[in-house]
Symmetry: C2
Subunit: 139 residues, 2 copies
């Protein structure tokens, strides 16, 4: 898996440093929707001197490449999703856990005429809200 990441990122104006490799390893296949701090804490285990700036710089570089999406669902902080294929999310209103929903609802999401006069739609993202099993059994 590490080799796959190396092959994918080496060259192309993307300097593959040990810190970046650690971030990429952490993100690869990660469906936990980590925040910048989650990434920072994880990378710090192996690279104790890493700085927040490195995490944010790398996040930015990956976003520019289209390999990382910023999720605007939690009003307190940004979450990131290494799966760049468009999908939706459900967030637990109790604990904030986020799940992925790989369904394309676009065909059903027709917009009213007054909106179509004012906007040319280019995409959509649905935030489902709900309560996760852990939280509903907890009480």
């Amino acid at each position: 898996m590490v080799q796959k990441i190396i092959d994918r990122y080496r060259g192309k104006g993307f300097k593959l440093t040990p810190q970046r490799l650690a971030i990429l390893k952490f993100l690869e296949g990660n469906t936990g929707h980590p925040t910048a701090e989650d990434i920072f804490v994880e990378i710090k285990k192996k690279h104790p001197t890493v700085s927040f700036a490195t995490v944010y710089n790398t996040i930015q570089a990956l976003r520019d490449r289209g390999d990382l999406l910023e999720i605007t669902i939690d009003p307190e902080r940004k979450h990131f999703d290494p799966n760049p294929s468009p999908h939706h999310h459900i967030i637990c209103t109790d604990c904030g856990k986020i799940g992925d929903i790989f369904v394309d609802y676009s065909a059903a999401l027709t917009l009213p005429d007054n909106i179509l006069e004012e906007f040319t739609p280019t995409g959509n993202h649905i935030d489902f809200h709900g309560v996760c099993r852990d939280c509903s059994t907890k009480q």
Copy 2:
């Protein structure tokens, strides 16, 4: 309109101050999805000594009453919507303008089984992305 606001808010543990009345007047029927700063700037015209804390306090009080919704669509700052009936939004990816969409798509938004095993859904909100007419003619 001012009298309507006064009738609606007086009493009920909600102290109707001049600052609050100005905020309520600004929000009444406002479909511009203002930020806290937008509200602050507006109120300051008539109440030059108003503080940000007052704006945030009042926002919080209105949210607690269910009269104001926080919109999590702009990663940079919170926007607020005085229309508490559930609806969706479309945001211009260029200038950030936000439009309201009063369509209930819920019947079409069926969730996959693996999600329903993990979450009990309680609601949904769609962020449409697009380009507004001003921005598309501008270039």
